[in-house]
Amino acid sequence: MPEMTMAQALNEAHRIAMQADSRVFAIGEDIGDYGGIYRVTVGLLDEFGKDRVRDTPISEAAIVGSSVGAALVGCRPILEIGFVDFVGTCWDQIINQAAKYRYLSGGKASVPLVMRMACGAGLGYGVHHSQSLEAWFTHTPGIKVVMPAFPDDAKGLLLAAVDDDDPVAFFEHKFLYTYKDAVPEGRHVVPIGKGKIRREGRDLTIVCWSRAVHWALDVAEKAATEGIECEVIDLRTLVPLDEDLIHNSVSRTNRLIVCHEACRTSGFGAEIVSRVVETSFDFLEAPPIRVAAPDIPVPNSIPLEKVYLRPESELLDAVHKLTGVRFHKLKQH
């Protein structure tokens, strides 16, 4: 199986989708001649021409809005917003237009749109180029939310997102664009709404997504040397959430950590913990722990950015804390 970076895997997915269906087109800033600021759309302009690979002015509201309009009449656009931090400039078109058309039309309208957005800190880019804002989208009924952690999933989920008849918010962590791994050739599709157990374990479940999956796998390795076996679930999709996968795991391990890079308050981890408490309370031997960034904007200075990226270093502590806790069950099954 060939190895490639996440950017290359996404590029391949574009190519496959656009070759298969002439209704698919790419739109965004600097995606054509330039090949995209993360090199995801390299070569597409040469192959598909400027009608289907469209460079735009700096006009996010028009980029998203025109993608909605094109989708309404039968196209399947893939738009790129270079930094999720910019969504404020086109938020109406996302939450009020793309997300609501199917519903407000009583099912007649369809907006099969993929919104690719780069998220995440770790490169010292500061307040407006580093955020993780997936929770804003998960709170908007009508939008699916996808966050691959590995190149094979990036390719597979992007192909699935293009095929999906709903608008999909597709988040790519900018730190992972250069991450290299094996990627199946050809039309490799990963279903939206299905998580994956990346590592099996009996002692606790770590639910995570995007870059946090890599943190969790590193921590699981370390914990294993201490005799603690962590089960790592890579959610891959946040909406719709693979609740069964989480429930099955927690029912076996009885302990839960949710880890994400985004800020703690109202991060998607809060939703997962709530659901697990609602549906799997009897299986829990300890209170779940959320490991997330503090509630701060992302500072510019590298050592300060590390404070924001605390989840990476706090995860192992959380594993220790969780496995050191004895929880008195109030009732027996």
């Binding site: 025109s66 309009g69 094109a70 309404l72 009020n96 039309s105 009583g106 099912g107």
Partner: protein, 338 residues
């Protein structure tokens, strides 16, 4: 790429303009249909049968009808919160329209959209919109879709004078012009954004004053002269269809109804409203057609009777229809229905 010169289209003209007598009478009937529905909806709002925020367009009928007479059934359209006239003139089903306002299962959006979110893909109506200015980029997108799909349609984008100060106006006109897209931007300039006069919202006197900065073709049209609207629209639609790109038509008009049903209209003098009522576009067209001998009193009575019947049947249909069941509320959030 077609050059985007700031051309003044010729508008106005005689009674015929390439239209047959039947066409002219059809346009008159449509204007009556729009007005009668507005009056019926207003009355039913007052009775409490129709609820929610309702924005009527009495006095603006010539714009919707004149534009729609110039397009084909498969042409697309985006609209505003003041959408009833656009929807009906575009060919939206009056029964489904009324049922939607009544919030019934048989409404065009199964009761989930309502007045500000009417939608009908079958007649190319890509949506009313509750957000001012939101339809502009969507219209640009529909036109972009036409290009990508290689299909044959133009897109009409209705918006009001209030929307022209929204950022989406700027981004959309710029993008449509840069990409030479087949969209006709139609501004219904009724000189008010709710209570605010347009002159308090921008320094330039006309919306079309902005077109020159994009080298976008534009013209000002008497929006209360349905034939002038038709002629200008025809030219703009022809330009779009033949690959000459977008146009901005600024139709000067006036809404004699309030901004919404329940509006006390304290922001404008009653004399101003009465002055515009005296320039009613429907009466004006009737006089013109009577003078030309196209219309007789008898024909006019027939038109009114047919319109009344349509309105009556739509109202009865709406009242008799069922409300949507509870499960409809959670349906159509995503493609996989529940």
């Amino acid at each position: 790429m077609a050059s985007n010169k700031n051309e003044e289209f010729e508008s106005g003209g005689g009674v015929t303009n390439g239209l047959t007598e039947a066409d002219l009478l059809d346009m008159l009937e449509k204007m009556h249909l729009l007005r009668s529905f507005d009056e019926r909806v207003s009355e039913r709002c007052k009775r409490g049968e129709i609820s929610g925020l309702i924005h009527l367009g009495m006095g603006e009928e010539a714009v919707a009808v004149g534009v729609c007479a110039a397009i084909k059934p498969n042409d697309k359209m985006t609209s505003t919160h003041r959408a009833h006239g656009h929807f009906l003139a575009k060919g939206g089903d009056p029964k489904a329209f009324m049922a939607e306002l009544y919030g019934k299962q048989t409404g065009c959006c199964r009761g989930k959209g309502g007045s500000m979110h009417l939608f009908d893909l079958d007649c190319g109506f890509l949506g009313a919109n509750g957000v001012v200015g939101a339809g502009l980029p969507i219209a640009v997108g529909a036109a972009l879709g036409q290009r990508i799909l290689g299909e044959d349609f133009v897109t009409i984008c209705f918006f009001g004078d209030g929307a022209n100060n929204q950022g989406t106006f700027h981004e959309s006109l710029n993008l449509a012009t840069v990409w030479n897209l087949p969209v006709v931007f139609v501004c219904e300039n009724n000189e008010y954004g709710i209570s605010q006069s347009i002159h308090a919202q921008q320094k330039v006197p006309h919306v079309s004053d902005r077109a020159a900065s994009y080298l976008l073709a534009a013209s000002i049209v008497d929006g209360n002269d349905v034939l002038e609207v038709y002629t200008a629209s025809s030219a703009a639609v022809a330009a779009a269809r033949s690959g000459r790109g977008p146009t901005l038509l600024e139709c000067k008009t006036y809404r004699t109804s309030g901004h919404y049903e329940g509006d006390d209209q304290s922001y404008r003098p009653k004399e101003e409203v009465d002055e515009w009522k005296a320039k009613d576009p429907i009466r004006r067209f009737e006089r013109q057609l009577l003078q030309e001998g196209v219309l007789t009193d008898g024909t006019l009575d027939e038109i009114k009777a047919r319109v009344w019947k349509v309105v009556e049947e739509a109202t009865e249909f709406a009242i008799a229809s069922q409300c949507p069941p509870d499960k409809e509320a959670t349906n159509h959030v995503f493609a996989a229905s529940q």
